[in-house]
């Protein structure tokens, strides 16, 4: 059963992102468990890609570190299976989605990839290089395996917002500002106007990501949407603390979640 709706059932959702395998894959499970324990509502697990064109320097570097440590799609599937089954620690029961690039899925075989996702209990998929026009290649298979493909909406989407929102499943990922992922000191897009169009089109929840790092930013974003997504700020903590990042990430997630309560 798909669990994404559970993420949005307890007030505003806090959605942390982590690149799997940074600094290596043995470090990831403890961080994911710490995120769950600290109150994360949904976790985005990044499968590293060699050339992540939608990412800023922090997540790019995390991707490359993960790949040079030997992280592969199959090893990540195994790790998720262990997390869900409670092997090696407490079971992770909150919703989780994969975030990666089209080629990682396509080259694995889209159907084979999604079948594995369903088997190990993944609840969704985010592909930042698959816009509305190319959904037809992935979304029907995603639906078939009940691993919905998240729709993304950007500050430049304008006339495309309702077209995209109408077909959204799982949750909508609203990109806060122009550019790639990364911490920003301020977000100036009129997101309120965008979420109003989304709300008038669909009941699918909408979370905002890109550039969020402080509790105040997360709070402000969640005020006008259903949740806040944070990636680069977490990967910065991991880049600094390395293999022992779990307690620091847990503390950060708790602080951010508290700002949304």
């Amino acid at each position: 059963m798909n669990k994404i709706h559970e993420a949005f059932a307890h007030g505003k959702a806090f959605i942390p992102f982590i690149t799997c395998g940074d600094p290596d894959l043995s470090a990831t499970p403890a961080i994911v468990r710490a995120m769950q324990e600290a109150g994360a509502d949904l976790i985005e697990l990044g499968i590293p890609f060699s050339d992540p064109t939608a990412e800023g320097p922090v997540i790019q570097a995390a991707n490359l570190r993960a790949l040079s440590a030997g992280t592969t799609t199959d090893k990540i599937f195994q790790m998720v299976d262990d997390l869900r089954q409670g092997r090696g620690g407490e079971a992770v029961t909150i919703p989780m989605v994969f975030m990666t690039y089209a080629n990682v899925v396509y080259s694995y075989g889209t159907e084979r990839f999604l079948a594995r996702c369903r088997q190990i209990g993944m609840d969704g998929l985010i592909l930042p290089d698959v816009p509305y026009e190319e959904r037809g290649e992935f979304a029907p298979l995603c639906d078939q395996f009940d691993v919905p493909l998240t729709s993304m909406i950007a500050p430049t989407s304008h006339d495309r917002i309702s077209m995209i929102a109408r077909e959204a499943k799982g949750f909508i990922y609203l990109i806060s500002s122009l550019g790639v992922t990364g911490v920003r000191s301020s977000i100036t897009t009129d997101l309120d106007a965008i979420t109003q169009v989304i709300r008038s089109t669909t009941d699918v929840p909408c979370a905002i990501g890109f550039g969020i790092s402080t509790p105040a930013q997360a709070h402000a974003m969640a005020e006008i949407s259903d949740g806040a997504i944070v990636g680069s700020a977490i990967m910065r903590i991991i880049a600094k603390a390395g293999r022992h990042a779990a307690p620091a990430v847990g503390a950060y997630v708790r602080e951010m979640k508290n700002a949304l309560r």
Partner: protein
């Protein structure tokens, strides 16, 4: 419903972040409007003639023909264009289009630096700002072109991520475009990326085959038996092939960079060693590992050192209409030196890949066969690197 645009068989499409979608939609609309607009076409034709120096010559390489002892060889002299390569054809078209769209700033990626120089040139001439992304490795091996771009008023941004070559420069230019769209046109340099780029770039480069057709009919009264061009992303090749695609008797031969050999990891021969994938906005063939991680490719030629190939080439390969062969560094360097000595023409190391294949097949063909080899650019920029390859350090 979802309508995937810009397909060449399976290949092509628009695999880009949502942030860029309206920009490519707007570009497509503008292009559809201006491609049939007589005023736009007239202005472009005038720029081709008066600024770029078109038509470029179709030169009968008599000494090379005689020396190889087989098919007659003609060289399509794109190296004689202003800025020294075919890249100016596409750049003048796109810059003019960007101007019409109200853009004031051009960004571009560059490998060998030829596209960067062409973009910087058009920006200077049309009074636009210009930022060029170039891999740090390429900045070292093509230092002269870096200086030329800066001299022309462009900012050259070193890209240090990944292999610090063309692939990473494309990624960085795409990232920059998502940061700043309103006033900026991404002047993509090859027949790759998301629709409508492969089509726009092909149409602007198609002037090459349009001219070859007219010129060869004038000189020989018939079409050539084969057209050869080097392929990285594939813009000079598609330009050289395009108007011959319906002529099934004309062989179309793309020459990829094998680097140190297609049986090594140090290669950039996409058709020979790649498989179907999705990257840089398009579905096409890419050099990649079993998990879809893009391979760190290699070629002595910075312009061919790219892990993918344009979607229309992928389709021409699938349908068998064009053939793709792989040429090693060593073969290309030999051809670079051979053409210099034989015809007094120093070709770009990229173009030398096509010359190398002509050297292989011409001797085996009868004397009444005709080959046209596109010299996509001139080789001045490569002299220091080739000297280094031969163990000689030179300073300018």
């Amino acid at each position: 419903m979802h309508e995937s645009k810009g397909r060449f068989g399976l290949h092509g499409g628009q695999y880009i972040p949502e942030t860029l979608m309206n920009a490519v939609v707007e570009l497509e609309k503008a292009y559809e409007q201006y491609k049939n607009d007589p005023a736009f076409q007239k202005e472009l034709a005038a720029l081709f003639r008066d600024y770029a120096g078109r038509p470029s010559l179709l030169y009968y390489a008599g000494r090379m023909t005689k020396d190889l002892g087989g098919a007659k060889i003609y060289l399509k002299r794109e190296d004689l264009n202003h800025t020294g390569a075919h890249k100016i054809n596409n750049v003048l078209g796109q810059a003019l289009l960007a101007k019409r769209m109200g853009k004031t700033r051009l960004i571009a990626e560059t490998g060998a630096g030829q596209h960067g120089v062409a973009t910087a040139t058009a920006a200077a001439f049309m009074d636009m700002d210009c930022v060029v992304f170039m891999g740090k490795t390429d900045m070292q091996r093509q230092a002269l072109n870096v200086y030329r771009m800066r001299l022309l008023g462009a900012e050259v941004v070193p890209v240090t991520t990944g292999t610090a070559t063309l692939k990473d420069a494309v990624s960085e230019a795409m990232r920059e475009w998502t940061r700043r769209i309103d006033d900026t046109h991404y002047c993509l340099g090859s027949v790759m990326g998301p629709h409508p780029f492969p089509t726009i770039v092909r149409d602007f480069q198609a002037v090459i085959s349009r001219e070859i057709r007219t010129q060869i009919l004038e000189k020989e009264g018939r079409l050539p038996d084969a057209v050869l061009a080097c392929v990285g992303g594939g813009s000079n090749a598609i330009g050289s092939f395009y108007h011959f695609i319906p002529d099934k008797d004309v062989r179309l031969i793309g020459c990829e960079a094998a680097g140190r050999g297609i049986d090594t990891r140090e290669t950039a021969a996409t058709i020979a060693t790649g498989r179907e994938g999705i990257f840089h906005g398009m579905k096409s063939y890419f050099c990649q590992d079993e998990y879809g991680q893009i391979a760190p490719v290699y070629s002595i030629s910075a312009g061919l050192d790219y892990p993918g190939i344009g979607p229309e080439h992928a389709w021409l390969h699938d349908t068998g209409r064009a053939e793709y062969v792989a040429i090693t560094d060593e073969e290309a360097v030999n051809a670079f030196e051979y053409l210099s000595r034989t015809e007094g023409i120093i070709p770009a190391i990229e173009s030398a890949h096509a010359v190398a294949y002509a050297m292989k097949i011409a001797p085996k063909l009868p004397k009444d066969k005709i080959l046209v080899v596109t010299l996509s650019g001139r080789g001045d920029k490569d002299c220091a690197a080739i000297a280094r390859y031969r163990g000689e350090e030179i300073s300018e």
